[in-house]
Symmetry: C2
Subunit: 303 residues, 2 copies
Amino acid sequence: MSIESAPVTPSSTDPAEGEFTPLPPHRGPLLIIGGAEDREGPKVILQRFVDLAGGPNARIVIVGTATTVPGEVGPQYLDAFDDLGVESAQFLSLSGRREANSPGAVEEIRGASGVFFTGGDQSRIATILGGSKVEEALHERHQAGDLVIGGTSAGAAMMSGTMILGGGDIVPSMTAVRTGPGLGFVDGIVIDMHFAERGRLSRLLAAVAVRPHELGIGIDEDTALQVDGSTLTVLGQGGVTIVDAGQGASVMAPAEAQEGSVALTGVLLHVLPSGYTFDLSTRQPQIVEAPRDATDLTAPTSP
Amino acid sequence: MSIESAPVTPSSTDPAEGEFTPLPPHRGPLLIIGGAEDREGPKVILQRFVDLAGGPNARIVIVGTATTVPGEVGPQYLDAFDDLGVESAQFLSLSGRREANSPGAVEEIRGASGVFFTGGDQSRIATILGGSKVEEALHERHQAGDLVIGGTSAGAAMMSGTMILGGGDIVPSMTAVRTGPGLGFVDGIVIDMHFAERGRLSRLLAAVAVRPHELGIGIDEDTALQVDGSTLTVLGQGGVTIVDAGQGASVMAPAEAQEGSVALTGVLLHVLPSGYTFDLSTRQPQIVEAPRDATDLTAPTSP
């Protein structure tokens, strides 16, 4: 398979250990945001989106499918991108199937260098855009590598093939999380957002308990994960929590337990702040630059 | 050392791998509760405390040092223990050093079969009881093995040698958690409570980042961890989350990061609901009874 013969990263670790099929390196980048990103201050994350989309010459389309208050959310982003010097930004509410299949909307997507998905309800993104002409155009442009796709909160959840819809039991259980299909711009992961702020570890663990081949990725607010091929890079104020239940982990239903609850043992956990990267193909964190003041308190992580 | 020549559990795993010095097996049990335990319904956790303390013949002393509303908290526990058929239960507020050193209070502790610490502010327990005659009596009776000590919320935090006092930054950092000395009834762990409910993963990780030889243990509300020697057993509605940063984990300060934030990689995570046990000497979960309907989705955890 030509994709695998062209590894995305020239890493010395062994890709055969990973469960992840590397993305074609020419795919466009993704910027997956954990919600509540700064829209009025230095806008570090939105600035990155603009940079990826071509700077001041970017042609940005904001998609408001997830929100039920487009009149509130749209102007916030238009103002933010205006502040960042973008001359061409427009808001498309795309709040119904008819719009999602309209030649006009498809034309806008085809002309964009960056498409940004607002927050709201991620199930609206799946039900309104799923299988639509707009989704088709997004995938075409993404695979051609000439479009950056960003999304925050609901717009982040939909990025993966499996999308968390809701949930929230305290104890991980087979029923503590509801999932459905996302738009699938990145494979091998399941994303949760507002992660530390809303204490969503249990729900993310519940998601990976039943699909241990997928990495669980929890993104804090005002924090983003940039996806370039199989390399994830953290950006912003918070951290990104990665749970890997696919290696030495096991999932068991205990003898004496309430309905459906499970024990998870041996899950690997990584928490990465801004500046760190993670390689999806090896399931290992990487350090791009040598850290200053590194305090390696124990043995280094073995691959 | 005589303690190590008398292993607490006849486990086949290798105790040499653990960092934990086993407790003398004759020490009294502890019941460490994550807060908000049921006091009006079936009272599963308080029932366990009563059972450990001798059933209806238990002589229970409730210590209200942590609370600033003893008039509210005291009657709740007196009613609960009365409901559970305990004939001898009394509430001691022990709200100052003078009381904590009074012969009368020491006498009550010496006569008790179970001492229960209420919630409140854990720093009050350390500053009022630390080094007092009451603390001395508690340790004597605990080490003699004829006293069960229970504690909820603040009364749970103080059980270990290192006690979490506060904190709450989203990203683990060297400064995201404030710790101080607890009363030290159990070594080798640091405890956080209201764990899932208040999303305290970051704070617990921050605590173990700087002391990777200690296991981080997060206990959910209405959930307890019973400590018998080096065996921990989960009881109640929620789960217990154990983070182990002492094996393959590493803690690093990234190149491009805000003040003090750290990355943690390769941390081992276990989440155990009611019915599961964990061995502190091997740092491994155990299953007491063979689970029914076990779904071992991946390879079993290797020791």
